[in-house]
C-alpha cells in the first residue's frame, strides 16, 4: 500500500553521489585564499571546509526533498480532484440515469450532499478518527479540527507531501463510499433518513474500517504492522465491500420499491449513465494510481493495472450478455467497466498487467451473474446494483489480490519477501479472507443497528403516495425535467 521505502533509497543515492563532487571544490578555493602557514590555521581552515561541505550537503538535501515533494504533491492534488470528480458528476450521472425520471434529482442530490456533508465532518473529526492515533480499531482525536495538519508531511503515511494533501485526498474516498450506498436505497428512501443514516454510517462504519486497514496500528494494516496484514491498495475492503454490503442490508431493510418487480422500471437516460461511467473510469486513475501517494513508478503500475482490468471487465460482461441475450448492450458494457474498476481497486498496486486482465475478466462475469441471476433468485431490490457490483466486485477483487500480488510490483512485506499466491505465499489468501470477513461483518452489523436508529428518529422510507409521485417533488420540491418551460 502506501509505500515509501524506495524513495528514501533514491534520496540517499542522490546525496551520496553528490558528496565527492562537492568535496573536491572547497579545499582548492581554501588553498588559494589562505596559504598554509601554521598548523593552527590549517585545522581552522579544514573545519571551515567541512562546515561548508555540510552546509552544501544540507542545501542539496533540502533541494532534492523539495523537488520530489513538488512532483508528488502535484500528482496527489490532481488525484484528489479526480476522486472528487468520481462522486460529482461521475456517480451522480451514473446513478441519475439509471433511476426513473421522477427520482433523478433526488439521487443526484444525495451524491452532492455527501460532497458537502462528509467534507465538514472530515474537518471536524473524520480525518482524526481515520488517521489520528494508533489504536487497532479506530483512530483518536489528536487531529480533531485538523489540529496539526498542515504543510509538514506525516511520515507514517506519506513522507513527501504535506499532510494537508494526504488529508484532502483521503477525504475524497470518504465522500464516495457512502454515496455508493445510495444506489441500493434509490427511489424510496427519505431524504432526512438518508442524511442521518449516512452521517452515522460514516462515523461508525467507515472511520473504523479505514483506520483498521490504512491507519497506523490498525490490525488489518499490511504496511504498518497489522496482525492480519490485508492487502488493500486503494479501498477494496474499506470502500467497496463496506458500501456494497451495507447497500445489501439497506435494500433488505427498506424493502422493495412499490411495483417491483412486476412494474417495468427501466433506466430513464442511459446517456447520463454512459457519461457518468466514463467519468468514473477516468477519475479512478486518481483513486488507484493516486493511492501510491507519490508520483512514482508504483503509481504508473497501478494506473496500468486499473486500465487493463477495466477494459477486460467491460468485454467479459458484454460477452456474457451477447451469449445470453444475443446482444451486447451499452448498459452492460459500462456496468462491466465499473465492476472491473471495483475489482482492481485492492489489487492495483500489487499486480502486473496480465493478472489485471484476469481480475477484470473474472469480475465482469461474476458481477454479471450477481446482478442478473442472484438478485432475482433472492428477490432483494438492490435498485441500482450497488451490492451486485461493489459488494461482489470488491470481494472478488480482495480475494484475487491475495492470489496475484507480487513482490516485484510492490515488496510491501520487505525486499525479496513473497507477497501473494503467485509468489508462493498462499497464506496471504487467508489474510485477505480475514479482511473480507471483518469488513462484511462490520458493515452488516453496523448498518443494521444504524438503520434501526435512523428508523426511530426520522424514519427511512417515504410513503407509498410519495414514492409514486417521485422523490424529486416530494423530497426536494423540484423536477429534473420541466418540459414545458
Amino acid at each position: 500500500m502506501k509505500h515509501l521505502g524506495w524513495k528514501c533509497c533514491f534520496l540517499m543515492t542522490m546525496v551520496l553521489a553528490a558528496v565527492p563532487l562537492l568535496a573536491q571544490q572547497p579545499p582548492s578555493s581554501a588553498a588559494t585564499s589562505s596559504p598554509p602557514a601554521t598548523s593552527g590555521t590549517t585545522s581552522a581552515a579544514s573545519s571551515e571546509t567541512s562546515k561548508a561541505v555540510n552546509d552544501k550537503l544540507a542545501q542539496l538535501d533540502t533541494r532534492v526533498t523539495a523537488a520530489q515533494s513538488a512532483g508528488d504533491n502535484a500528482w496527489m492534488l490532481v488525484s484528489a480532484a479526480l476522486v472528487l470528480m468520481m462522486t460529482g458528476p461521475g456517480l451522480a450521472l451514473f446513478y441519475g440515469g439509471l433511476v426513473r425520471r421522477k427520482n433523478t434529482l433526488a439521487i443526484m442530490m444525495q451524491s452532492f450532499l455527501l460532497m458537502a456533508l462528509i467534507s465538514v465532518l472530515w474537518a471536524l473529526v473524520g480525518y482524526s478518527l481515520c488517521f489520528g492515533g494508533n489504536g487497532p480499531v479506530i483512530g483518536g482525536f489528536e487531529h480533531a479540527f485538523l489540529r496539526g495538519v498542515g504543510a509538514d508531511p506525516n511520515p507514517d503515511y506519506a513522507g513527501t507531501i504535506p499532510q494537508s494533501t494526504f488529508m484532502i485526498y483521503q477525504l475524497m474516498f470518504a465522500i464516495i463510499t457512502p454515496a455508493l450506498i445510495t444506489g441500493a436505497t434509490a427511489e424510496r428512501m427519505k431524504f432526512s433518513g438518508t442524511v442521518l443514516f449516512l452521517t452515522l454510517w460514516f462515523l461508525v462504519v467507515y472511520a473504523p474500517l479505514a483506520h483498521m486497514v490504512w491507519g497506523k496500528g490498525g490490525f488489518l494494516n499490511a504496511s504498518l504492522g497489522g496482525k492480519f496484514p490485508t492487502l488493500d491498495f486503494a479501498g477494496g475492503t474499506v470502500v467497496h465491500i463496506s458500501s456494497g454490503v451495507s447497500a445489501l442490508v439497506c435494500a433488505l431493510y427498506l424493502g422493495k420499491r412499490t411495483g417491483y418487480p412486476k412494474q417495468p422500471m427501466p433506466p430513464h437516460s442511459l446517456v447520463l449513465s454512459f457519461i457518468g461511467a466514463c467519468l468514473l473510469w477516468v477519475g479512478w486513475f486518481g483513486f488507484n494510481a493516486g493511492s501510491a501517494l507519490a508520483a512514482s513508478a508504483l503509481a504508473t503500475s497501478a494506473f496500468v493495472a486499473t486500465h487493463f482490468a477495466t477494459a477486460a471487465a467491460a468485454i467479459s460482461w458484454s460477452l456474457a450478455e451477447w451469449i445470453k441475450n444475443g446482444r451486447a448492450s451499452a448498459l452492460g458494457a459500462i456496468s462491466g467497466a465499473v465492476a472491473g474498476l471495483v475489482a482492481i481497486t485492492p489489487a492495483a498496486g500489487f499486480v502486473g498487467p496480465m493478472p489485471a486482465l484476469a481480475i477484470g475478466f473474472i469480475a465482469g462475469l461474476v458481477c454479471y451473474w450477481m446482478v442478473t441471476k442472484v438478485k432475482s433468485i433472492f428477490g432483494y431490490d438492490d435498485a441500482l446494483d450497488a451490492f451486485g457490483v461493489h459488494g461482489a466486485g470488491g470481494t472478488i477483487g480482495a480475494l484475487l489480490t491475495g492470489v496475484f500480488a507480487q513482490q516485484v510490483i510492490n515488496p510491501i512485506f520487505g525486499a525479496g519477501k513473497p507477497v501473494g499466491g503467485m509468489d508462493g505465499h498462499w497464506g496471504q489468501l487467508g489474510n485477505q479472507l480475514v479482511g473480507v470477513l471483518i469488513a462484511w461483518g462490520f458493515a452488516l452489523v453496523g448498518t443494521i443497528v444504524l438503520l434501526k436508529i435512523t428508523d426511530m428518529i426520522t424514519g427511512v422510507r417515504v410513503t407509498e403516495t410519495e414514492e409514486i409521485e417521485g422523490l424529486d417533488i416530494t423530497q426536494h420540491g423540484e423536477e429534473a425535467y420541466n418540459l414545458e418551460s
Binding site: P266, E321, L331, G332, S335, Y368, V371, K373, K375, S376
Partner: protein
C-alpha cells in the same frame, strides 16, 4: 372539408411529407405519438431484467382539406407510407364542420 389523420411509421415521414407538398398540400400538424395495433412490441433487457415495450413510437399527421383534394392526399399517403409490413399505421377520415383562421377570422375552406 375533411380531416385526415394518418398514423405512420416515423421512418416514412420525410417521403410522405415531400409527396404531399408535391400535390399542393401546404399545411399539416405532426405529433409524436406512441401506440400499437396488431403489431407486437419488442423486448428490452436492462441488467438481465426484460421489459416488453408494446407501445411503439409513431407519427400522427393531421390535415384538414377541401373535399376535392382528399382522395389524392389519401392515395399519396398510401403510396408513400406503405412498407408492406405490420405496423405501417392507419388513416382516419372525418367530416369537419367549420374552420376559422384566428388572424382574420376567415371561415370555411378559405381558412384552410
Amino acid at each position: 372539408m375533411m380531416k385526415i389523420e394518418a398514423i405512420i411509421q416515423p421512418s416514412r415521414f420525410e417521403s410522405v411529407k415531400d409527396a404531399l407538398r408535391e400535390i399542393g398540400i401546404e399545411g399539416m400538424t405532426v405529433t409524436e405519438v406512441r401506440g400499437h395495433g396488431r403489431q407486437k412490441g419488442h423486448t428490452e433487457v436492462y441488467r438481465g431484467r426484460e421489459y416488453t415495450v408494446d407501445l411503439l413510437p409513431k407519427l400522427k399527421l393531421e390535415m384538414v382539406l377541401p373535399d376535392p383534394l382528399v382522395q389524392r392526399a389519401v392515395d399519396t399517403i398510401l403510396k408513400t407510407a406503405k412498407t408492406g409490413k405490420i405496423g405501417d399505421g392507419k388513416i382516419f377520415l372525418s367530416r369537419v364542420e367549420e374552420a376559422i383562421r384566428i388572424r382574420n377570422e376567415e371561415r370555411g375552406e378559405n381558412a384552410l
